[in-house]
């Protein structure tokens, strides 16, 4: 055995010995570190983010329209200016899309009062406003509902007495708060017919217990986010001045 042989042998032994040797955990230390402002910014990361941030901010802050007043979802009893605006915007922006795909019109719109996530302040309306009012990614869907389900829908609204945003539909409660009439284009709803109801996918999936959407003839997914509806609507108009009207009222 010369030196080379011995070295080779030695190497093999080391390798085989190490291979047989396992590694065993004998201590574990766990903790959580808060990312606070006591940590310095990593400047290279910060510089990388900067152009993205500037683009997003300038886009979000670009002025789309002007609100003549401040609008809140609590400024009306059965219908609110901001809710009316949202439901009308969904009708106006979605109906051309729906019509081009099906040849039919949307009959009416129903959204949820809780889906108005922010006020619109008097002054400039920006893309950021649309993100504040609708931070979620819910989209417009059109549901073909039979008269029986439309009746349930109207009863739900009459009973709930909440200012769920509606468009095209008119509901009147009598002075005792009981259901009196429901009309579409001044004509009473015909509960033997089917109607195309535009709503959001949250309500379609049973949100706010609007279970009547479950029994439907067809569902049309428009791939159109409510937020984008608002952005498109704000872009189109110059001045925003929605009003509380008589689409859902109680007789005195």
């Amino acid at each position: 055995m010369n030196y080379k042989h011995i070295f080779l042998l030695f190497s093999i032994l080391i390798l085989s010995a190490c291979k047989n040797q396992g590694e065993y955990i004998n201590k574990i230390e766990g903790k959580q570190i808060n990312i606070s402002d006591s940590l310095k910014l990593d400047q290279s990361i910060e510089n990388f983010i900067k152009p993205y941030r500037e683009h997003v901010d300038s886009n979000l802050d670009s002025i789309l329209a002007y609100a003549v007043n401040t609008y809140s979802k609590s400024d009306g009893e059965y219908n609110t200016a901001i809710g009316n605006m949202m439901a009308d915007a969904v009708y106006e922006e979605s109906n051309p899309v729906f019509k081009s795909r099906t040849g039919e019109d949307i009959d009416f719109v129903l959204l949820n009062h809780g889906g108005i996530r922010s006020i619109i302040s008097k002054g400039n309306i920006t893309t950021r406003t649309a993100y504040e009012v609708m931070p979620f990614d819910n989209s417009v869907v059109v549901v073909k509902l039979k008269g029986a389900q439309v009746k349930e829908l109207v009863e739900y609204l009459a009973k709930g007495k909440r200012a769920h945003p509606i468009s095209k539909l008119n509901i009147v409660l009598d002075s005792d708060g009981n259901f009196k009439s429901a009309t579409l284009n001044s004509k009473p709803l015909d509960f033997s017919k089917t109607y195309n109801v535009a709503t959001n996918d949250y309500l379609y999936n049973g949100g706010d217990h609007m279970d009547f959407f479950k029994t439907n003839d067809s569902l049309y997914v428009l791939d159109y986010k409510i937020r984008n509806v608002l952005i498109d609507y704000f872009t189109k108009i110059d001045t925003l001045k929605p009003v509380i009207d008589n689409r859902f009222i109680q007789l005195k």
């Binding site: 590694e23 574990i28 959580q32 808060n34 606070s36 402002d37």
Partner: protein, 304 residues
């Protein structure tokens, strides 16, 4: 044979002496190695820190600060892994404007090693996730999403093995049931497989076949469902499986004061951790290894 072995050992021993103790340090029985696991979950596109006026988390979070912290930890211990337990996407306009591109690019710059997929990572549909993959220089693991009939096929592995300082670390991923949580048109033909069965299969492969020294489960199942005990969660999974050393969780945005120690099906300890959401915290788990089995067998000390 006996005689031959004797000679070899003698030869080796003399060689050792002759070489002046070269390699001795890596050969001492009491060698201690340290692996640091850093982790985030449910960052939800929170690239910037919360502003000073935020009602809940003022001046917290932010990728540029997280980068500083991670760099300091890596400097202290180069044998560090950085992992994410899913829901990288959705939550700020950055996602709406760039579709996840910036999130993946920044995670790559921070040198994330492995991530798993959360339900919100399907928010731009499976095609939207696929489209951002070129920006991710880290790997995705999921053992219970079968992507065979989707565009993600071959882009997500059930597990990944990383060797650091000779320590073999096996990391597998688990995702939450998508039905009822994500629209079918978003996740398409992704097939959800039973997480418990897949975890058992993964631990068998990683422990018995691959002989990993450390097994980590990156989970987006959720920490615990108190009112739905039948629903699989990290705590439940930890108790009914074996050989998992650490479960890094997500989905439930659970802020824990410290990692939870759970007895697994063999009565051994499994660590379950989750660090809330939005990049407010970074989890740090240090594993110390010893090549001396007897010493380790005396009981692993867990300091949390």
């Amino acid at each position: 044979m006996k005689r031959r072995e004797f000679i070899q050992q003698t030869a080796a021993a003399s060689a050792l002496i002759g070489l002046g103790g070269m390699g001795l340090t890596s050969f001492t029985p009491a060698t201690t190695k340290k692996i640091t696991i850093l982790h985030t979950n449910d960052v939800h596109s929170h690239i910037d820190a919360f502003g000073p006026d935020d009602g809940r988390n003022p001046n917290q979070g932010g990728v540029a600060r997280r980068a500083t912290l991670i760099q300091a930890i890596r400097k202290e211990n180069p044998n560090t892994l950085l992992l994410d337990a899913g829901d990288i996407f959705q939550g700020t306009p950055y996602f709406n404007y760039y579709g996840g591109e910036l999130e993946f690019k920044l995670m790559s710059m921070l040198k994330y090693d492995v991530a798993t997929i959360g339900n919100h990572d399907f928010d731009n549909s499976i095609e939207g996730l696929y489209a951002q993959l070129p920006h991710a220089k880290f790997d995705f693991v999921s053992a219970n999403y079968d992507f065979s009939n989707t565009v993600m096929d071959t882009h997500v592995k059930p597990y990944r093995i990383i060797i650091k300082d000779g320590i073999k670390i096996g990391i597998f991923g688990l995702g939450i049931e998508l039905d009822g949580l994500v629209e079918k048109r978003m996740y398409k033909e992704t097939v959800y497989l039973d997480p418990t069965e897949m975890a058992q299969e993964m631990t068998r492969v990683l422990k018995e076949d691959e002989k990993c020294d450390l097994i980590i489960c990156l989970s987006h199942l959720g920490y615990n469902y108190r009112n739905r005990p039948e629903k699989i969660s990290d705590l439940k999974l930890a108790g009914i499986t074996k050989d998992i050393d650490l479960i890094i969780g997500g989905h439930t945005h659970t802020f824990l004061k410290k990692p939870t120690v759970v007895k697994n099906s063999e009565g051994k300890n499994t660590l379950v951790n989750q660090v809330g959401c939005y990049g407010i915290n970074l989890g740090k788990i240090d594993f110390y290894f010893d090549s001396n089995k007897n010493k380790a067998a005396n009981g692993t000390s867990i300091i949390v």
